[in-house]
């Protein structure tokens, strides 16, 4: 979603500073109201809440109070120090206040009527001490476990939320997911302005995180499940659905890296900003064409991001050196960046978020994903197609030319093997090997290339020490 997009008028918002979340909520959480963050154990509720407070204090000049019911303040500070958040220093500067409310069930006995005025006074002290605009209660459910009288508790919670609203505080309340319900103790009854659900699921031993806005009263919001990632910079949410088929197109053409191949594309190569699929069986030279493409980009003085899912960067550099591509030179000059990672290391969502992050940071002109089929290991065909749609939409919107290689199984009708992703591609180039007269020959043809007159010949090619050589057409 581009920032230039007009934000629909609505209730005032309070930015979280969390990448992606402010986009899908069109500006942040409802200002001056409580938001419920729910999800299972380990879903990232505390982290989201903490980022809201820390980023609020640091980036938006809004001091915040973090009230922890389950961890003491030292544990909290230690947990987020790896994200570069120095809580003790922020407490020192009066930007942030931490309070640990410990409710130990075994110490407590009930002897008549009571209320939670003690909690209210504590909150008031913390809030007034730093002039807080934001507050987190993580998690109020500890009260249910610690205090015996649920009727009193529920009445007091109602009073608490209206008290927070009266004070104009933007609040996050976290709550654990229940069996078949959003929260175990029905916190959603009290907080109806904004409810966000965090999901952390494991399928085929691969963990993926997602975020969904269950409701947001008085505001439009994205309704999808958004891929979410936790890394060394904190939480990020990927606003994918906002992308669409509305990107500009370029008439500029760029070289394929093989002169004779350029000729097959009307003599000028690929369109800039298009998506190119190279498919073939094992050993047909897909990576070689990818290397040629990357090499050509760097020679033009552009930057190329190479996402390798099968081989290490060093191995690709060595192998491509043997057919005349000196990729190390471009790595040294900072024009070529490899990101080599086993596809099975992460879920698809995380790969997607990683691509976004790398692209945002490195600002490449060209991207190579070699091979996309390797992602089969972490997702079904439908999921890969969905992910590639997002990748392609994103890259196209940024005007980045993208090349994908795809390994097809021998013995299948080759035109059918990549049917799922081929419709996303502007150019589809096929490689195959044929046995002819006791020799395996490498063959190449262009199955489609949108918007240009392309050759329909089947061409033989060789991988030589000076690069890829196409034989003359017969």
């Amino acid at each position: 979603m581009s920032t230039s997009e007009t934000i629909p008028a609505g209730i005032p918002k309070c930015p979280t500073g969390i990448r992606g979340l402010d986009e899908i909520t069109y500006g942040g959480l409802p200002r001056g109201r409580p938001t419920l963050i729910c999800g299972g154990a380990g879903a990232g509720k505390t982290l989201l809440a903490m980022e809201f407070i820390v980023r609020g204090a640091r980036d938006f000049g809004e001091p915040g109070v973090f009230v922890a019911f389950e961890e003491n303040t030292d544990e909290l500070a230690a947990n987020v120090s790896s994200l570069g958040f120095d809580l003790p220093a922020m407490v020192e500067q009066q930007k942030l206040a931490l309070d640990y409310v410990r409710i130990e069930r075994s110490e407590i006995q009930e002897a008549g009527d009571y209320d939670l005025e003690g909690l209210f006074v504590r909150l008031a002290v913390a809030i007034d001490g730093i002039g807080a605009k934001r507050i987190v209660l993580d998690s109020l459910e500890a009260l249910f476990a610690g205090l015996p009288n649920e009727a009193i508790l529920r009445a007091e919670l109602r009073r608490l939320f209206s008290w927070l609203k009266q004070r104009g505080l933007t609040a996050i309340i976290t709550a654990e997911q229940g069996q078949g319900t959003l929260t175990r103790y029905g916190m959603e009854e009290y907080i109806s302005d904004c409810v966000i659900f965090l999901d952390h699921r494991v399928a085929d031993q691969i963990a993926t995180r997602r975020l969904r806005i269950v409701k947001y009263r008085g505001s439009v919001h994205g309704t999808n499940e958004y891929p979410t990632m936790i890394d060394e910079t904190g939480l990020s949410v990927l606003p994918i659905s906002s992308l669409g088929l509305d990107y500009g197109v370029s008439n500029e053409r760029i070289a394929t890296g093989v002169a004779a191949l350029d000729a097959m594309f009307g003599g000028q190569g690929y369109y800039r900003g298009s998506s190119i699929l190279i498919s073939g069986t094992a050993g047909t030279g897909k990576s070689s064409f990818a290397a040629a493409f990357a090499d050509a980009a760097c020679q033009r003085g552009e930057r190329c991001l190479y996402l390798a899912y099968e081989e290490s960067a060093a191995q690709i550099v060595r192998n491509m050196g043997s057919i005349g591509f000196d990729l190390q030179r471009w790595v040294d000059e900072g024009r070529l960046r490899f990101h080599a990672v086993r596809s099975t290391l992460f879920g698809l969502e995380q790969h997607l978020v990683t691509i976004h992050k790398l692209a945002a940071e490195f600002r490449p002109d060209c991207v190579v994903m070699d091979p996309v089929t390797n992602l089969n290991a972490v997702g079904g065909d439908a999921e890969i197609t969905a992910m590639l749609t997002r990748v392609i939409d994103y890259l196209k919107q940024s005007g980045i030319t993208a090349m994908f290689t795809s390994l097809t199984s021998a013995g299948l009708v080759i035109e059918q093997t990549d049917v799922g992703i081929s419709s996303l591609m502007d150019t589809w180039q096929l490689l195959r090997q044929d046995d002819m007269a006791g020799e395996r020959k490498r063959l190449l043809y262009v199955l489609k290339s949108r918007g240009m007159a392309h050759s329909s010949e089947v061409r033989q090619f060789r991988l030589t020490e000076e690069g890829i050589r196409l034989e003359e057409a017969q």
Binding site: D99, V101, R102, I103, E104, E107, I108, Q109, E110, A111, G112, D113, Y114, D115, L116, E117, G118, L119, V121, R122, A124, V125, L143, G146, L147
Partner: protein, 113 residues
């Protein structure tokens, strides 16, 4: 008392007898002078006079006057009666209308009636 007893047995017997006369250190937290606070204060003082005669220290604290104290004491509900001594630490919450629960909470009986 039997003549032959080892030292540990003697000490344990002495400690058990001593417990009946243990010093009670109590703090009662209330929020302002509401009817509930007043009820709790009357109940607790009556209780102490009746069951803990001359063996208790009681401090009554209005949380509005000393809000800073609550963090260390972990006060959430009011009224709360905190028994610091003898150990173990106990927190009784409520207006203390139920004397049996007070007896149990102060460890003066071993099970609630």
């Amino acid at each position: 008392m039997p003549v032959r007893m080892n030292r540990q047995t003697k000490e344990l017997i002495a400690a058990a007898r001593e417990m009946q006369h243990a010093r009670y250190v109590l703090r009662l937290y209330v929020a302002g002078m509401t009817p509930r606070s007043a009820e709790a204060i009357r109940r607790v003082t009556d209780f102490c006079e009746k069951h803990l005669t001359e063996q208790y220290e009681l401090e009554i604290i209005d949380i509005y006057q000393k809000p800073a104290l609550m963090r260390g004491e972990q006060i959430v509900a009011v009224p709360t009666l905190v028994k610091h001594l003898p150990e173990p630490l106990r927190r009784l919450i409520g207006d203390m209308q139920d004397e049996d629960k007070l007896l149990f909470g102060m460890d003066l009986v071993t099970r609630p009636k």
